[in-house]
């Protein structure tokens, strides 16, 4: 019982994750946050968000994992059906807390979030603006 109480008190809320993510994003101006919560699964479940991005803006996509879950979040940016960018480079196995995206085409894009190896996870994704080109 005591353990449950302890866990509840210390569980990271989504709001806290947003604040952490805002700090990770550094000087970039906050635009929007995305809350990601997925159960474990095979193939890995995904959470998808449609967004409009504008030409000549350098965006920053930041991801922050909850320490209460094992899953490490991956962001993939798509246009229609092409992957354009990701926070996880398979070839090197390297994870990035944020990536920058220099947009040259105003239009609709998709943010696709999943957790590596299909583990359950809680994370926040942040869209912010680094500046104009």
């Amino acid at each position: 019982m005591g353990v449950t109480y302890f866990n509840k008190v210390n569980a990271q809320s989504e709001e806290e994750l947003v604040q952490i993510c805002t700090m990770v994003a550094g000087d970039a101006e906050y635009l929007k946050d995305f809350r990601i919560k997925l159960d474990a699964g095979d193939p890995p479940p995904v959470q998808r968000f449609p967004i409009l991005l504008k030409k000549d803006i350098k965006y920053r996509f930041t991801v922050c994992n909850s320490k209460d879950y094992e899953g490490k979040v991956i962001l993939q940016l798509f246009d229609n059906n092409r992957q354009l960018a990701t926070t996880y480079i398979v070839a090197t196995g390297k994870d990035y807390p944020y990536i920058d995206w220099v947009c040259t085409k105003t239009g609709a894009y998709h943010l696709v979030y999943s957790f590596r190896d299909g583990k359950a996870g809680l994370a926040v994704g942040l869209l912010s603006m680094v500046g104009t080109m």
């Binding site: 479940p45 449609p50 000549d56 354009l84 105003t106 998709h110 603006m129 500046g131």
Partner: protein, 308 residues
């Protein structure tokens, strides 16, 4: 010829079916990135884009952002001009919740412009107006007036001013969605878009910068998504009227031709920061006469909605 046309309409039907049935992009098994938001010019000419309610609601907030519009204008070294902004005195003319939500978006855009140019002396007037409007539609608790006022009055931490302004609007949007009042969110977005397009049109009258011309032209893309969003609520008489107003400017935008050249993104890692650079090109075709009609059309739309 008939066969070709049949295939074309069949393809169109398939695309729109996909759009309409596109689930709310919540948890899905596996990556399934369909074309539910891709609306090429050729399709737009035949039928307006139809986007599922859930998809439009999710992208609502991001359709038009005061921060991005203002940043683009400031990035071109265009000086601040207070005359571009809507007078806060006009706010008294908005009576219904629908009108107040529209005004909330409109003044929110102006607030973004003021914040971007760090004109804190005007900010308090605008956040006071926004707070009143937000209170009137029962979302005032999400607009962090006191913190914004303190930041603006003390001229401190201007990044926080932008952050808190933006987060306040995001919370309002979330709350409206949670309380089944998403239509008001859509109206707020419409207000932001109209004022952003208006600011760009005013800049277009004093600057020949090609990027401003392009900004005016590319509003076609944004307007199409915005109209798709508004049409989700077209049974509401006030919304139907707003859609009619927007359709007038859309008719002019239908003459703008936007094409794209597709390229592969470039990936560069510098100082530990991974940057992806898109190499796609958007090409906007419109002659001077059409450009001028767009500017006039946007300004008439905004001034009518602002009840000037």
């Amino acid at each position: 010829m008939k066969k070709l046309r049949f295939i074309y309409y069949l393809s169109l039907f398939a695309i729109l079916s996909q759009v309409i049935t596109a689930c709310n992009s919540c948890s899905k098994q596996g990556v399934d990135v369909t074309q539910d938001l891709y609306v090429p010019d050729s399709v737009i000419e035949v039928a307006p884009p139809q986007v599922s309610k859930a998809v439009t609601e999710q992208m609502m907030q991001n359709i038009s952002s005061p921060v991005e519009t203002a940043a683009l204008i400031k990035g071109l070294k265009i000086p601040f001009n207070k005359n571009f902004l809507a007078s806060t005195k006009q706010a008294e003319k908005f009576n219904t919740n629908f009108e107040k939500a529209f005004a909330l978006g409109l003044y929110g855009c102006d607030l973004g412009y003021l914040n971007m140019y760090e004109k804190t002396s005007f900010v308090v007037d605008y956040i006071s107006t926004i707070k009143r409007l937000a209170d009137d539609i029962q979302v005032g608790q999400f607009f962090d007036f006191n913190t914004l006022k303190r930041l603006a009055t003390n001229n401190e931490n201007l990044d926080s001013l932008i952050l808190i302004s933006q987060q306040s609007f995001n919370r309002i949007d979330n709350y409206l969605a949670e309380t089944n009042r998403s239509m008001l969110s859509a109206v707020i977005v419409a207000g932001v878009w109209v004022e952003g397009a208006y600011l760009s049109s005013r800049v277009a009258q004093i600057s020949n910068h090609p990027r401003i011309r392009e900004t005016i032209g590319e509003q076609k893309t944004i307007l199409n998504f915005l109209l798709a969003l508004l049409k989700v609520y077209d049974k509401d008489p006030s919304m139907a009227k707003l859609i009619t107003d927007f359709e007038n400017i859309k008719k002019i935008y239908d003459e703008v031709k936007i094409t794209y050249e597709v390229g592969e993104p470039e990936m560069v890692e510098e100082n530990g920061v991974l940057t992806f650079k898109q190499t796609d090109k958007q090409i906007i075709q419109m002659d001077d006469e059409l450009y001028q009609r767009l500017i006039v059309g946007i300004q008439e739309l905004r001034n009518n909605l602002l009840k000037l």
